[in-house]
Amino acid sequence: MRNLVRYAAPLAMVWLTLVGCDTLFTEQPPAGEDFESPLDGLDPETARMFAKGDENFEHVFSVDEGVGPIFNNMSCGGCHPGDGRGTPNEALVRFSMGTDLVPELGGPQLQDRAIPGSQPETLPPGADRSLRLPPPVFGVGFIEAIPVTTILANADETDTDLDSISGRPNWVTAPDFVPPTEVGGGPGLQLGRFGRKANVSSLIQQVSEAYHQDMGVTSDFLPTENENPQAGGVAVGDDVADPEIPALTVLETVVYVRFLSPPAQGERTDQVKRGEQLFEAAACASCHVPSMKTGPHAIAALNQVDVPLYSDLLLHDMGPGLADNRPDGSADGYEWKTAPLWGTRIIEDFLNGQVFFLHDGRATSIREAIQMHGGEAQPSRDNFMNLSPQEQDDLIAFIESL
């Protein structure tokens, strides 16, 4: 037996050394290198909600849990991988006939999947369609915390400064279930901030509708199942009693996306600094406004801080090439919200080495995305095209550092 003791001691020591070793026991990914980290300094209650929301975001709804009857995907994470943007595989189609959202034909969103026993929707002939790539979801808490006046200060609806750029807000109405205390809630016209056309004014609406429209999951906010009207009135629903999730689940998920931190900016090399100047000089920054300041906020991390999102959150006519010819709120078929450029640095890390840009993901490089700018952005695009190849590379290097 003495032998056994003699061997047991070194073994135990080997084991203790192992447990202490990070390389052998996995390391935390470096801070600021992902889209799914919380903002610093959350109080325990908010952090708890955030953790629940994180689980909700990844939760894949099964048929038994109420996905469908018609739907696009089974989880938030299934469309927003790693809390970043999706690929064209995850893109969804909005449709309408002019400004008529045609609910009787299944508008305004095409649910092209259905659970067994139900029929998926098909696009009605002659409908105006808009293909939308899932945007990243981090940083929406900052976007929400920027005061309306700050955003409107960049608007120039009639192009009074004659720079051809005339950003304008999308004024939308909030659904009744959004409490007036929420940013973007209440009666009357509200400033749209979310979605590719700034078509949604509040996070509660964005998230409730994601559950309802994208996944077919009913909640206390939207308790009636979204049926396929094209199925001819024989609405075969799922077998799960509505609402399928309580308000609390939606609110946890709202807290989760609200407090997701944008990644840190990359190294500011000389090339990046040169690129930044060119970005200003080519008038990219007229729409991709480098920074806006949040208003007073109860959460310190959101309280009066500069938000380096590189967007004015306003609508711009981007020309016929990018037009979807489908109005959305007060946005017309040529207009798109300036896409924020933060987090561009690590997009490919969370998209299997690929990148997709613009509202439908048609551009597979930054250069392509710039080349496709038209309309109000045409002069700025031309500025870019007139740069020397080296300068173009510098400018792209700058965007890739964000």
Partner: protein
């Protein structure tokens, strides 16, 4: 018909080798210590498996826990030369889940033809047939045997098994059963075959087939193919078609070779699942997985007090591709294990494993851990 005739010919023609010492499945249900040790009448035995786990995922402790993984009780009775009965009860999760893992009656018509009925261990891959913790060299089961093949996979069913001896040294065994099969639990939040097991009644009134053919060219090695196939969903109700019929098929190849104090073993599995139209692209239609393991016994009888004791080392490579149509959605694991057996039926195991995981978008994650396990037959 041709096949049936050929099988019959084989049954008559090959020489039976009555003095073969090989158990039907080495480490299988009739090759457990308690059966071999005790005398007449019904025999009882079992095994227990207790663990301590320390695991981390991307730098955070994901599990630190003491677990009584399972306790199993076996009963065995030879009612006559030709009739045998075996049963196994499994207690998992601290007794919250009690399962009849096995309850079979065997009627041996001939060495080449035994009729088996009851709740049987599906002969789908060697590991499922020989999964007892004390028999294993590593604490955790292979990924392919838990994520694709739902070990312990047992189902109510009936069928035949038998052994043939083409030459004095070689042996061919087969098992073929009709069983209840899997249900649509295999599709809940992803394609996950284990989610569809435990059907004590058939959900679609349509049996599935499971079978295995093993060739042992010499006593120290075996190679085998197995398959499990059949419908998993309900597509008819009282004669009315309510859905499309959807099938799931799992195929495995496994092998083992023993040489002195070394052993090499492995298993490959591939599955094919019919997916409802609305879920194509969200649920995997094909999956595959493999494990390869090397084992070595050493320092036999190092301690005078324990002449039968020995140390056992093992290394295993595990890989499962949860969706062969996608880049990503896979799991690779490397495990190193050191075990000590004071007696052959009892083992203390210390494993370290490192895992490379990729989600459906090929976003990488890492997990690693140490697991200490004690497992013993009794």
């Amino acid at each position: 018909m041709k096949i049936a005739t050929a099988a019959l010919l084989l049954l008559v023609a090959t020489a039976a080798s009555a003095d073969d010492e090989r158990p039907f499945v080495p480490g299988g249900i009739y090759d457990k210590p308690f059966i071999l040790q005790v005398g007449e009448g019904a025999k009882f035995g079992g095994y227990a498996d207790a663990q301590y786990r320390y695991e981390r995922a991307d730098g955070f402790v994901s599990e630190q826990s003491f677990i009584l993984e399972r306790i199993n009780l076996f009963a065995f009775a030879a009612l006559s030369e030709r009739v045998r009965l075996a049963a196994e009860l499994e207690f998992e999760d601290g007794g919250e889940e009690v399962k009849i893992e096995l309850a079979i009656v065997d009627f041996e018509i001939h060495q080449r033809l035994t009729f088996r009925a009851g709740i049987l261990l599906s002969p789908l891959g060697r590991f499922n047939l020989t999964h007892d913790s004390p028999a294993q060299y590593l604490v955790d089961r292979p990924l392919v045997s838990t994520r694709l093949i739902p070990t312990t996979f047992s189902e109510p069913g009936m069928g035949f098994l038998g052994a043939f001896y083409p030459t004095t040294n070689s042996r061919v065994t087969y098992e073929a059963y009709l069983v209840n099969g899997l249900d649509d639990g295999i599709l809940s939040d992803r394609t996950f075959i284990p989610g569809g097991k435990s059907n004590f009644e058939d959900n679609n009134n349509h049996p599935s087939f499971v079978g295995r053919l093993e060739v042992s060219p010499f006593p120290s090695g075996e190679i085998a193919v197995s398959a499990h196939t059949g419908p998993y969903n309900e597509w008819e109700e009282e004669g009315v078609k309510i859905d499309e019929r959807r099938d799931v098929t799992i195929v495995t190849i496994d092998g083992e070779y023993r040489f002195r104090s070394l052993a090499f073993l492995g298993e490959y599995a591939r599955d094919f699942v019919d997916i409802p139209e609305g879920f194509v692209g969200l649920f995997a239609e094909k999956q595959q997985g493999i494990y390869l393991e090397g084992r070595v016994d050493f320092l036999r009888g190092l301690f005078k007090e324990m002449p039968n004791s020995f140390f056992a080392g093992a290394v295993r490579y595990d890989y499962v591709d949860f969706d062969t149509d996608r880049e990503g959605d896979d799991h690779t694991r490397l495990t190193l294990g050191l075990g000590f057996r004071p007696v052959p039926a009892t083992v203390f195991k210390l494993d370290y494993h490192y895992n490379w995981l990729n989600d459906r978008f090929n976003i990488a994650g890492r997990e690693a851990g140490v697991v200490f396990g004690v497992a013993t037959y009794f």
